[in-house]
Subunit: 356 residues, 2 copies
């Protein structure tokens, strides 16, 4: 048996209003006059006050990224080239400011600036050869755990799969709960549910150990304080839930919901948050208590999921989703154990997708 | 307002039996034939099976350390010199194997090998100039949180005070719950209570934020599973409680119990674990619920604390303890807020010590 040597984010700033300290964090990386920083910022912030608070210095690049669709390997390669075109020198830091997609883009660009040949070839586990550029994550949406994880999930030419490596992990994260206030309610809910679902998948998985369990149990309690109790400190609590959910997954694995959601997302383009909710809502056989509580949370917040999305799709479209979902070996192993291949049948998956 | 940029342990192995992976962890640091590792090992292990499992290679130094008394700056300086005498080259890693005292010795020696002039001059906050040698923590007693903290507490010529710095933090910890099985019951209890007390002090402190709170709340629940429920996985749970308690403190601060215990420990030589228990037992005015639950845990495990330790001590001995305790500004600020100096009177402290 081999034990995972878990690489965590080594530096964390947590606190309401702590965004003001981003400048001093980056100052430690700026050593010569031509050192510069690249800020990758979710373009929803272009018209918001945060745009004026980005601590830029001479020579820095601020690049607004569109994440209406899930990040792709092409997008990462394009951004990497854009950074390289402006300066022959590499930046001293890449800062991602946004939700999970933007954070994953920042991680991927920081990696690709030091690893040649296009990001698609690094989709998988531990294929990265060289350490990334120093990179910083500043979440403005909470739930995915991207701030804590060792992956950057990308849609590539043949698959949706992450750049999973120790080098992917942020060098620094800054968790300022003021930044997640005021996001659209549906996005808040769907992204928050990603965290809740992480916990359910982790706690019901075969990979669970006491480390992952402690984090997942606490993240789940925090989710309940946010989505059931409507706690006064819910922004801080959701930020911690997302981080702790990510810490749990880093030492365990997601499960059936993410496997189904990946199929849905890759073929139909559903974003990760809503895709997970659509998938989770048909998984009562896998996670009965979790799905029941999830539906109660939807009720409380008047969230209505789209229905009949897959009911009338052509068989070959469903077959493609089934194939993508089935290819998620580690996720299904977490659900069923080593014997998963006997249990994850085309028929079972087809039935699930048809109900979405 | 300034927010702490919290340096965490960047690499963590967790799991029963994971000690076998220490060799491969160290292999990554060994680059040339004359690279060597220093193992600082609590001397209780000298006659135990663990002694034969230490993954030594040619040129490595295994140094058994005695921690019957709390670690001192002299001890650290002596160990540092011992390492330097054997080889003109620095080790590639310093590995601490033992309880909190041994882990603190390992942290301190790793620092002092790169920072000249004796450890006493670095007692305080952020006085370390140069990064430490790569250092690894392998706890064999759980509770203090030394595996997660940015301090190495030492008794020096004028004070008991830690080497507090980002460089103090371990580069790697290995949490193998098999290693904490079979320690003497009193030591198990007193050290475990250090974790419980951390949580109480953190959760009742003025420095608390949601990060520290989430960790302390979970660590406290884990302590209850260990010390009240007698859970089947109690070794794993205590190991996680200790780690999470340490993570909580790193972002908050200890409180009245540690301040009193430091006075007791410095003047009378009580070890940290039992010292905290002695102090906590007279702090019902500060932490009523915590002290009540602590006493219930003592009852359950038939732990009987020594009594009347300070009752008949000379006034000047008590005055010395009071002075040491009073000097712990940040701890008292965590208890009372900015106004602490008006509240921490000699009289109040004297009364507390006389009851111990």
């Amino acid at each position: 048996m081999s034990f995972k040597n878990f690489k965590c984010v080594p530096k964390i700033i947590f606190g309401r209003g702590s965004f003001v300290q981003l400048d001093s964090v980056l100052a430690a990386e700026r050593k010569t006059d031509d050192d510069f920083v690249v800020f990758l910022v979710d373009d929803v912030h272009r018209q918001r006050p945060l745009a004026n608070r980005i601590p830029t210095h001479n020579g820095d690049q601020v690049i607004y990224v569109n994440v209406d669709d899930e990040p792709t390997t092409d997008q990462v390669d394009g951004l990497t080239e854009q950074v390289q075109t402006v300066s022959h020198k590499a930046p001293v830091s890449v800062v991602g400011i946004g939700g999970g997609s933007t954070l994953d883009l920042a991680k991927a660009v920081a990696l690709m600036l030091n690893n040649a040949g296009g990001s698609a070839q690094y989709q998988g586990w531990d294929l990265i050869n060289h350490a990334a550029i120093h990179h910083v994550g500043v979440p403005t949406v909470s739930g995915t755990g991207a701030e804590a994880s060792r992956t950057a999930v990308l849609c590539g030419p043949v698959q949706k799969l992450g750049l999973n490596s120790d080098h992917t992990v942020f060098d620094q994260i800054l968790l300022d709960s003021e930044l997640i206030a005021g996001i659209p309610k549906q996005q808040w809910f769907y992204t928050g549910m990603d965290c809740y679902i992480h916990c359910i998948e982790s706690l019901n998985g075969t990979f669970l150990n006491e480390f992952a369990k402690a984090y997942a149990e606490k993240a789940m309690l925090l989710c309940r304080e946010v989505f059931i109790d409507d706690h006064a400190d819910k922004d801080d609590k959701l930020m911690m839930a997302s981080f702790m959910g990510g810490m749990s997954i880093a030492y365990s694995q997601v499960g059936a919901c993410h496997a189904v959601s990946y199929g849905l997302g890759y073929v139909l383009g559903y974003h990760h948050g809503i895709g997970n909710c659509l998938a989770f809502n048909v998984l009562e056989d896998f996670y009965p208590e979790g799905v029941a509580e999830f539906r109660a949370m939807m009720n409380k917040h008047n969230i209505v999921l789209p229905t009949n999305i897959c009911k009338d799709l052509p068989d070959q479209t469903i077959a493609k989703m089934v194939a993508v979902s089935k290819s998620m070996g580690p996720l299904w192993e977490n659900v069923y154990g080593a014997d998963w291949q006997n249990k994850v049948t085309d028929e079972m998956l087809t039935q699930l997708f048809r109900r979405i």
